[in-house]
Symmetry: C2
């Protein structure tokens, strides 16, 4: 085609019209089409797309209008192939609670939707022998832009080391800072545990049991530690026989709930370190013909859906999962920012939600 000598000679609107008319067969426009219509080289179009400052303002505006008009979308595969990256973000999880995972997903997608990046989900089994190799292959083959890790895989140092080695951006969601600040979203579980303790203590409970979660989860230790700290502030100590080992599943809560009833002296309240186990305890009480919270006050952790489905509804420390997902995605895109003074928000505080599963201890 004849190329215009000066920008002013190119009528972008006319070019767009021309395209629309000549493209009867509905072919998707490519960068070449845009370039030819605009009377520039592909490279210039490429610069516009990538927000390069090396483009004349008038040219930029014109090309942007043209792109919009004819509905051009850069091909992520071609882009990725040439620049050795991709426009995919991975979510690697091994969390047993579906509600958590979905909320995280939604939070991440809230952010990705505006960007053109897509989310690829990758549940895994940390106990599998091939876990690390699988993860590495996934990241390497897909050339992921970045990866978001949830507990407990987020706590695996070997995995983090692989990400660094591959030069892949990553954000680890965990209870405590295990890495550089900008690579973590910290969910301060300790504070949540403490608040749970304060709540029960203020209600007058002193004989309080705790059901801890799976050992391999950092959150389990944090929640318990926070809880003990909180109790200590009220002068309450936690006897060893009041500490029960669960694994974050409903079933473990159910089984341990039955055991709690046999403790002597019986506790008047229990802190289960997630909602699933708390729900299990409630069910154990029902099975035994008891009526919570009269028989036993129960505090959960997370405030996922289960918390409001059970009866009585759970008093629980809320983990803002969707927000955590959002933060993680936001931080992921700032991963390379050298400007460390501008570290974005990266810590969330659990908030105690008081419902019906706890009540004042009757000093009958």
């Amino acid at each position: 085609m004849v190329r215009a000598r000066r920008k002013s000679e190119v009528d972008y609107a006319a070019a767009a019209r021309q395209w629309t008319e000549s493209n009867k067969d509905g072919r998707k426009p490519t960068m070449r089409d845009v370039a030819e219509l605009a009377g520039v080289s592909k490279k210039t179009v490429s610069r516009v797309i990538n927000d390069s400052p090396l483009v004349n303002e008038a040219t930029r505006k014109g090309i942007q209008g043209l792109i919009k008009e004819i509905g051009y979308r850069p091909d992520p595969q071609a882009r990725g192939l040439a620049s050795r990256r991709s426009y995919l973000v991975g979510l690697i999880t091994d969390n047993p609670t579906p509600q958590y995972v979905v909320n995280i997903q939604h939070g991440i997608l809230d952010v990705l939707r505006k960007t053109g990046y897509e989310l690829v989900v990758h549940p895994c089994d940390r106990k599998s022998e091939t876990f690390l190799d699988d993860a590495r292959r996934f990241i390497e083959v897909q050339k992921l832009y970045g990866v978001i890790l949830t507990p407990s895989v987020s706590e695996d140092e070997r995995l983090a080391e692989i990400m660094r080695e591959l030069g892949c951006a990553y954000i680890r969601i965990a209870s405590i800072a295990l890495d550089m600040e900008r690579r973590m979203i910290v969910t301060n579980d300790r504070v949540g545990g403490r608040e749970a303790a304060h709540h029960l203590a203020k209600l007058g409970h002193t004989r309080i049991a705790v059901i801890v979660g799976r050992r391999s989860f950092r959150s389990s230790h944090e929640r318990r530690a926070g809880f003990e700290e909180g109790l200590a502030e009220h002068g309450i100590t936690l006897p060893q026989e009041y500490v029960l080992q669960g694994d974050y599943t409903f079933e473990s809560g159910l089984a341990l709930g039955a055991e709690i009833l046999d403790l002597d002296p019986p506790p008047t309240a229990v802190f289960a370190s997630n909602d699933e186990m708390a729900a299990g305890v409630l069910q154990a009480l029902h099975v035994a013909g008891q009526t919570p919270p009269d028989a036993l006050s129960v505090v959960g952790f997370d405030d996922f859906e289960t918390a409001t489905r059970v009866w009585p509804r759970l008093t629980t420390a809320r983990t803002p999962a969707r927000r955590i997902g959002r933060l993680a995605a936001e931080r992921l895109f700032e991963f390379d920012d050298e400007d460390s003074t501008a570290v974005g928000e990266n810590e969330t505080m659990p908030q105690l939600i008081e419902r019906d599963s706890t009540r004042r201890h009757r000093t009958s």
Copy 2:
């Protein structure tokens, strides 16, 4: 490099060793590397990778061994760019129940894991104005290999039409066949409704209410129709005032549960067309100081986690969501098979799980 004249002259094992030694810098091997080591052209390697029959058996074995040895993985971006496709499968959902979505995801991944395809999740809002455009762009830009649709987006004919137009493989998960057999996974909700009815009828209930789900969901109509059919088989009719309009959320179940208590004459049982609403009814009863199932028998639908978390545990018609996801993914990869005699399994039957939320009606 010197190319061997006859295959027998090429020592694949030696070539692999040579690669391993010379590749100190840990570069990922490309198809060209494999081709040069094997003494063949890229095209031949390409044929091996794509299981083309046009390759000599000895050559194939040798190259396969070499590939394994040096850990070559074809680049999905390059592959996709050249063949105008991708190795991504999309999951488009607008389902309000996270547990359903996660289970479907896991089912799909059970199948994808073996294939090298990845799953890209895409929740959407069917009521959004840009919903169809967004979906089209997603599919077109990512050049998705295929898409799996869950209710209720799966029931949108306009979306299905877009998929056909784009030539994208798709599987629709829905309550009834809306499309060619091979493009559907049918979850026979009608049968589930019928079983729920039988169950309650056999327990001696005659005054039975039903809470239907969101109107825009086909399943809602199917579950209700099946339920009415089931009742009819026992000579029971469903009066209009016993039909309550819910929307599949817990909150709607909670509100309608309270209303049920005011009905005159009061029903002795209720069929809520999903577990969330059934859980809402149970909670409404608890709030009112009533004790299910003595006050009211409640049947749910789905058997997601909620069903076993509440008290009493729900009698419910199980929807095998993970299996549905698996089937959908399997069918997706058979999408182009002309061999229509070999239509795979594509229908699942709900199964009634009897628990504690229903009991025999006392004809006092």
